[in-house]
Symmetry: D2
């Protein structure tokens, strides 16, 4: 079988995760080129993974064009332009979350991908995690009756890069970190967001406050779905103690818990220490298999010409929810959707 040829746009941390997945775990696809504004970064990654070609500008890569699909891992504010250009060039698109900055952008991306008949998949890797999938399956089977409350936690140990501190460029931590949680809520509720209320604050990053007074490092959000279901999410970044992504679904007939913070099934007890277990220190460890599986899925849907499990529409709904939550923080009141 012909290997699917992929071009990576964005040579940062998550870009490297995808590169490793392609190299080590997806034998029927291969990374053939890498693009990064920081040309040195592109060159380094190309060298490390023996890629023959790298680019500073994605337009050049599209001009070259010897690939079937792109993976976008650049900052949020660049997603739309890159994705639309790629769709025009008839390249399939895997786009990291958050999908884009606003609904105009997400709509352009969705429409252009549709017009070009290319796949558009959003990087909500939790949807590929064994535990989340198992929970979803159980909920679908009715193990909990009707789900009525979905809770999600998204906390990361460190701060994202500076561009993400600027709420205008990133939509803030609710977009950077919380996109996964909004998606989880919506995925399990099987309903659309109707009303959102959020509190947030900058509790740990006084140094950021001056330059970015809107920056918040922790937020709590409650939502109501159209089907009247409820949701709670809280996000925090940086939380220091580790990477924490747990969820809970309360239904009319029971509850289901997904995820834990301990990461390697080892507990050490010494005098006065208590029982000590390691904590996940990164999304890379916590969702190692899910990152592989989402890319595996992307390659499969292209090859089989099917719809991806996580679509542009899914990405768009989260962008809208984040916008509503940010507005709620700003005005101090609940916000109704659609915006």
């Amino acid at each position: 079988m012909e290997k699917l040829r992929i071009c990576l746009i964005g040579a940062g941390r998550v870009g490297k995760v995808h590169t490793l997945s392609l190299k080590n775990n997806i034998p029927d696809a291969e990374l053939v080129a890498v693009v990064d504004k920081d040309e040195e970064a592109a060159r380094r990654l190309a060298k490390e993974f023996e890629l023959k070609i790298h680019f500073k500008d994605y337009e050049k890569a599209l001009d070259w064009g010897k690939f079937d699909a792109i993976i976008i891992t650049t900052p949020t504010f660049t997603h739309k332009t890159i994705a639309v250009s790629a769709a025009k060039a008839e390249k399939h698109i895997f786009c990291e979350k958050p999908m884009a900055l606003n609904l105009e952008e997400t709509d352009s991306m969705i429409q252009e991908a549709k017009r070009a008949k290319v796949k558009l998949q959003i990087g909500f890797m939790r949807r590929f995690d064994r535990g989340f999938l198992e929970a979803k399956k159980k909920v679908k089977q009715g193990a909990l009756g009707e789900p009525l409350l979905i809770k999600s936690i998204g906390r990361g140990p460190g701060l994202p890069p500076e561009w993400a501190w600027d709420i205008k460029k990133s939509n803030g931590m609710l977009a950077e970190v919380g996109s996964h949680d909004f998606d989880t809520l919506r995925w399990f509720a099987e309903s659309e967001f109707e009303k959102i209320y959020a509190f947030a604050g900058n509790y740990k990053c006084p140094q950021i406050k001056k330059k970015y007074p809107d920056f918040y490092d922790h937020a709590v959000v409650t939502v109501q779905f159209r089907n009247s279901g409820l949701g709670i999410l809280d996000i925090g970044c940086p939380v220091g103690y580790g990477y924490d992504a747990r969820m809970e679904v309360l239904g009319t007939e029971g509850v289901i818990f997904v995820g834990e913070i301990e990461d390697n099934q080892v507990t050490v007890c010494t005098k006065g220490s208590g029982a000590v277990s390691s904590i996940y220190n990164s999304w890379r460890n916590r969702f190692k298999d899910a990152y592989i599986d989402e890319l595996r899925h992307f390659v499969d849907v292209i090859k089989r010409d099917e719809e991806p499990f996580v679509t542009g529409e899914d990405g768009k709904k989260v962008v809208e929810a984040v916008a509503a939550a940010n507005k709620s923080i700003q005005i101090g009141q609940a916000v109704s959707l659609p915006l």
Copy 2:
């Protein structure tokens, strides 16, 4: 040492729990009388515990007066009248949560107790649970830096009696079940509620809807404290699967989890069953020791003439928070405190 003489007002479930604590675990106090509008219930409890006297009306008990303190476990809407009368009769008061229906009532109770120089303790037994206490101690010691988010879960397996379904008589499930959670949030935040937002719904009790259209069986509440700390609580009743009272404190330097749902350290695995552990089926099991310890404390503070650890002021703040949350549910917007 002379035994402290106590009169129980309310011969229901929690009344019996306190009776057992007094009989089996607090040797320097004794229950000497019981009062219940349902005279048969009073008679039964008196017989079972070999009490010489029981009453239908608390006024009669106060007329008789041969006791030092009362325990109030009657419906919320009766608390204020009983407590004020007891204070006037110079009896110390242990009052179950929720303290009362509104701030006028709580203020009367506090003032009258103060004037009469009697103790007034509210039944927030979680404050006496070993785990909650240990967590609080760790937070005070600064183990988590500054607490910035406090989360609490309050879910019970069954429904309270019918009077509690009427939000006018009970303030609803946020009062009946959630009082503990509001108190936990405030206890750990060491700050007062500033703003509260709540969603609620009746997801499981269609039969109640007709008679009590305001009734909700699940609610999620987010709060902001004056010190800018955040809080989340969710309550549900009846949840069926068990009694669930867990909490979490996220601070600037770490996180602490308190409580679990498994109740007896036994796990059974058979073919196809998975690993199965029992779940707490009642607050009586989950907080068995805490119920004893809060009463032990009540007896101690009377004997030593000290302030109780959980005061009328604590009860009042929770009544206010519940009122704000109920108002938020009603108007669909956040509510600022004080009311």
Copy 3:
């Protein structure tokens, strides 16, 4: 109802635990006297608990005789003499584990108690622990099919007093610590020990080696029951990290786990710390309720004139098993029972 009058013989740590149980939790019994060779210890305990009388010699206490039952918490090598004398004086006997030093002693105790028609209960408190009882119930109900392997762990944080280091006076740590584990194995197997093999060593107490060359601080024992079931126990003392008493029953249809080392449902996570839970630091915390319940049972069986749940025969079988294990350690081969 008349209170059952009890005399405590042995004013040490476990003696005080029983004293507290009697005072705070068993209203229909009362401690009326205490005996200790160390008269000062007896006086201190008598004073603290407002007992009117204390003795240096148990014979004097028996001469005085104004009590119904005794609790023996003295060193093992004294149990037999005290118990036999008490039985002759027609006092009911609660005797701490290990029951006695050898089978002659256990037989005398059993026979004398029988002759005098007094109750003889051995202090295997694990049999009164909620978790152990729940597990036993499940096994009896056939949840695991036929039990075929029973495993028990007995580890304590510190060393017992010096007399216990002398294997001639105590039968060593397998008696002091492991008696509970042998009893657990036999209780769940519902069969008698047939063959025992043991390894042991002194790994942590070089200072004891000189004076007591036979002393071992850790041991592993495998047993075969007459019904062909298997057992494993390992004991260690001092282990430093905490008090650890867990068990496991493997049956033909499944497995059951009992106990955990974490003690208060609190987990703290900070940067680099991992997830940290407290560990039980003492049998007093781990089996707090079981200590109360075994004494509650003792009082009940006396009042109702029934057989205790844990009899002298149970104590004897453990003494025999410990002797076999010690012999196995000595000769380096398996030992068959009965001895």
Copy 4:
């Protein structure tokens, strides 16, 4: 880089696991041929994985010879002949556990591999599990002081194929299942087995008893190491409830636990169900990554011309321990090593 060419000998379950690892996770190696006595099985696997060639006899494969290394996953009693022939043909050898039937065989294999200067790695995949490795690292760092007791559990849900029921062909379940546990004990003890005592029985397989009267499905083994450390292992097969591979190291300064039975971080609670978690149902899931990593390591040591982490010597010591345990079962007494 040239891909390492590998020939698989044995197209059964574990053979397929290794095939999948090579295909999906080890890009610099490739499976080029498969051998199986059951030619249909060889053909099927060849077809499924698009291999150009397959063989009925390993000799034919060696004659063909266009590969660098072999993976042996055939029944134990064939290991030695295949491995020695492969070594003579200068092929590197990855050999599944148990390494061979007896010490003569293991010695031949080791010597021939040495003479031919080919790598010989034994399939103790637990040594590549993240948790086991983390525990080993902590022990090496002295986190527990000196390890003094190592415990290992090895239980599988189903029975191995019939050849393994014949103790003469397989050395029984202690070899088939317990090899991993013996290796774990020795790896952590860093000392050699000195004395071994074992009990065993056939508790669940009466149907096997007639044809194979020596067959046992459960066994418990205690060992003493030369450095005086202790070990316990228990194995069972079939246990029905799942695949269970946990271990524990008790040292002079603490204890470490590795592994759990719950497999996907999902817990479901419904009315009356308790809290239910899935259990590992197979070694394939429990040690998914370890199986990949051991093969990754095998490829790496060949490419870098280094010694494997798990050598023939390691395999041999386990064969010896199993033999001693089987002898102990037979004679009913402890057995000293070396045999």
